[in-house]
Symmetry: none
Subunit: 124 residues, 4 copies
């Protein structure tokens, strides 16, 4: 089952993109697998305190990318296979890790400082 407990909205990025990214990260983490049921728009809207239209927009985007199957009036299910999952993994690791490293470098940190900083923050 997909968890949204650790979902935190970040400033600046469109919310529906953050939801989409959250789900993709879950896929990469293996926490979300093919056939998993997605929470209904109404439930997720209540859980995250976000307008149902915005949830709908995120689900629509996932559908457009072929990652979920929705039938009118019915529940939505993850539609994953090895290729899709691998593609998402590459996409996320390249982009996210790339921008993470870029951020750390811009702050003038050495590789050692960056690593120890992350290790220090890992427990919190």
């Amino acid at each position: 089952m997909i968890s949204f407990e650790d979902f935190i909205s970040v400033d600046g990025i469109p919310i529906y993109l953050q939801i989409l990214r959250h789900i993709k990260r879950g896929v990469v983490a293996g926490a979300i697998q093919n056939g998993d049921e997605l929470p209904s728009r109404r439930v997720l809207s209540a859980l995250l305190g976000i307008n149902p239209n915005t949830i709908q927009k995120a689900y629509k985007a996932l559908e457009d990318e072929g990652l979920i199957e929705s039938r009118a009036g019915a529940k939505s299910y993850m539609s994953l296979d090895v290729d899709k999952t691998e593609k998402i993994r590459i996409q996320l690791l390249e982009n996210d890790v790339g921008s993470i490293v870029s951020s750390l470098k811009q702050m003038g940190l050495s590789k050692e400082d960056a690593v120890s900083l992350i290790e220090k923050h890992w427990e919190n």
Copy 2:
């Protein structure tokens, strides 16, 4: 002089915020210091391939935070002191590193995997 050579625009985040953060990171890194001259809107806009108005918005936000001094018709300069710099450092380390760790965790990485991933990407 402030360098924007290593500036990479990330999709989804407002560009003006990315510019703002890039400058703040430069301050934390010590690469940007009090009195430093900022590139003009036109110069930076040409360099980054971005509309001058977007640069203006980033500069205006920094000016509102008291980090830049601008006068019409004249150049803009960094206005920093120890307190401001330290405040930015804390702000960045808390927020940026926090969201970095959060991202890595959401991708299901162990601390060891995350660290080795970052080390691997560091050289690129």
Copy 3:
């Protein structure tokens, strides 16, 4: 409902200021009252052939003066009371009439000529 049928854009003056003044004049005229619904950005923008953002800027300025109440997703309404209305009346009569008289004088008109000119144009 607020009417914009007699709105004529004058060249040189920022459009958003003209819209703002038009509304203030309606308030002074008594044609706009507390609680009146404002036309939405899109409606007014289509009516006047102006970008919605320019309407937005006028409304935002009025909101900053406390003359309009806006909530995201909902309509905008006039927020007036006797004090605000009187303040606008004074503001307009002083500034507008003052600049009108100044204009007529600069054109070298005598008081009599100016009056007869205005009377002649009144019917058009």
Copy 4:
């Protein structure tokens, strides 16, 4: 000689257009005639407390409309004839008086109220 003593800058309209309009009003008023010498850019700049570039822009606009003759390094003179003067008169009376009447009407004034208001402000 052209007087700029009663020149008052109004909010919103570009300054160079206001200078241009001021001169046109002087022409309509008969206070400015063919062959009249214009104050040098430097003098007018000092008199009005406005940047020389802005004065230059106004003079350039007047030149483009064929209302003044300037020779490099020499003084500028009004270049008027009956046709030009009449054209300006019509232009100003139509536009200015039209927008004046429009303003007064929008304030909900009757013709009589408007006239008496203007007469009252005439002396100040």
